[in-house]
């Protein structure tokens, strides 16, 4: 039952969310009663009630054997009738009546100043109250919802962000309550034999989270490209979130060091999602990422770079957001690679401490100036659950990708690639 929008407007509006209202009406799945209340057309003379509303609802419910009823929005009733006493009584009766009918009813109302609803009645007579909110923080807006009340259930009490997109509304996954995910034992190659060797000879654990941090121009994206390339070569799908470059720019750059990703993208193994971080809030990014991951079901996710996400939120909220993302990826056994741009060589460890504790493997890339030349070196700062190398391995970025040079004699053999 719509009080504010006409049937035509409503059909057009929800079409953009992926609902075909006209078809649903034709299939008799839904019936829309378009109620118009026009106060200046109505003269009130003495006692009345809203039995007409009940009769219309009853008729509509019967005609499609409805199980769900939506009243959008009852504010219109308050605008249309001047006697609030009668309205309050009738609304209370309406809520009871809907319940007796055995239908689930969603009733929308506007939020009042300091109270949940403007007329302070609906929240007492209803079984569940969900508050929707739209806030702007640092010029970024986020929609959030919160369950204030749900009789007979132990509901979550936090605010959860949600997104309205082309397939309707999506709410963020709830932070997992415990650390219960299973840890897979199998390993995936990093794409570089020498790096695999540094990680106990086998590469990353599947489903682990990896932080790749380093200063500007240390080759974070290049290393990520090796990993992506190796993933696609195994025939697995990979989802790459790019926050600084466009996919074509990224692929061009990788082509210059001999990594060809176009073919993977064409056959659907590699999927890019490029967006400016400031486009929307952190939470919304998470929702969008979550949805992409749900759709593609990749085995590897790359976030390049994760810093840009930090620019849209505070350190705490970024950590909480990443935690939720990582939790989700872990439970789905998706390996995640995060690249992180560190400010300078001196601070490279401190800047990432906020998020590094969430990571299973932390690889540090650094550039050292020596004799008028810039040398690059890589070391594994930590890697949970495996023996790993502790040395700083020099590497260079060549026409054939990243080339690691290992000093120890054991790997001297591996240098020939």
């Amino acid at each position: 039952m719509t009080f504010e929008e006409s049937l035509e407007d409503l059909t057009a509006d929800v079409a953009s969310l992926g609902f075909d209202l006209a078809a649903l009406i034709a299939q008799r799945k839904i019936i829309i009663d378009d109620v118009r209340v026009n106060r200046h057309e109505i003269e009130e003379t003495g006692e009345y009630d809203l039995e007409g509303l009940f009769i219309r609802l009853d008729h509509a419910i019967k005609s499609v054997r409805a199980k769900r009823v939506v009243l959008d929005t009852i504010e219109a009733l308050f605008a249309g009738f001047s006697n609030p006493g009668i309205l309050r009584m009738e609304l209370a009766r309406l809520f009871r009546w809907l319940k007796d009918k055995g239908v689930t009813a969603v009733i929308t109302g506007e939020r009042g100043e300091g109270t949940l609803t403007r007329h302070g009645l609906e929240e007492y007579v209803s079984d569940a109250v969900i508050v929707l909110d739209h806030r702007v923080d640092n010029q970024v807006s986020t929609r959030r919802l919160r369950i204030v009340k749900y009789r007979g259930s132990s509901h979550g009490t936090n605010e959860y962000p949600f997104l309205i997109g082309r397939s309707g509304l999506s709410v963020l996954p709830i932070t997992s309550l415990g650390l219960q995910h299973e840890a897979p034992l199998d390993r995936v190659s990093t794409g570089l034999n020498a790096l695999d060797a540094m990680l106990g000879g086998k590469g990353f654990y599947r489903g682990s989270s990896i932080l790749l941090s380093g200063g500007a121009g240390t080759g974070k994206s290049s290393l990520a490209a090796h990993f992506v390339d190796a993933t696609c070569r195994r025939g697995e799908r990979c989802l790459y979130f790019l926050f600084e470059e466009s996919p074509s720019q990224y692929m061009r750059n990788m082509r210059s060091i001999g990594i060809h990703l176009e073919a993977w993208m064409k056959d659907g193994r590699l999927h890019f999602h490029a967006a400016r971080p400031a486009l929307f809030g952190l939470e919304q990014h998470l929702v969008a990422m979550h949805r992409e991951i749900e759709e593609l079901r990749p085995s590897v996710v790359v976030v390049d770079p994760v810093n840009d996400l930090m620019s849209v939120g505070t350190a705490n909220s970024v950590k909480a957001t990443l935690l939720r993302l990582i939790d989700y990826l872990k439970t789905s056994h998706i390996t995640a690679l995060f690249s992180s741009l560190t400010a300078g060589d001196a601070h490279e460890q401190t800047t990432d401490t906020g998020i590094s504790s969430l990571m299973d493997t932390w690889i540090l890339l650094r550039a050292v100036e020596e004799k008028g030349q810039r040398h690059r070196g890589l070391y594994v700062l930590k890697s949970r659950g495996m023996p790993h190398s502790n040395e700083l391995s020099p590497y260079s970025i060549t026409d054939c990708g990243v080339q690691l040079v290992r000093r120890s004699p054991r790997t001297a053999k591996r240098r020939t690639r």
């Binding site: 026009n38 109505i42 003269e43 009130e44 003379t45 003495g46 009345y48 007409g52 509303l53 249309g80």
Partner: protein, 99 residues
Amino acid sequence: MTQAARKGAEQWNLRLYVAGQTPKCITAFANLKKLCEEHLGGNYTIEVIDLLKKPQLASGDQILAIPTLVRRLPPPIKRIIGDLSNTERVLVGLDLVPK
């Protein structure tokens, strides 16, 4: 010629929407009948619609409140809700006296 008499010369078509024989509805009908006799002479028809029997008619005239009186003729359509006990307001609502 008074305004009431002038209006009275036109043909009036009134609809009273009720839901069963509730006291409010009976009162409304009695009040309407009396008022029409006094102000409209014989030039009126009253159609009583019981929505309990014909619920499908409620949406056509946008009925929410019961009882509702709808002036179908002469145009424009007017809606008056309540038991019509306030004769003054009903006459205003029906344009029989100026506001």
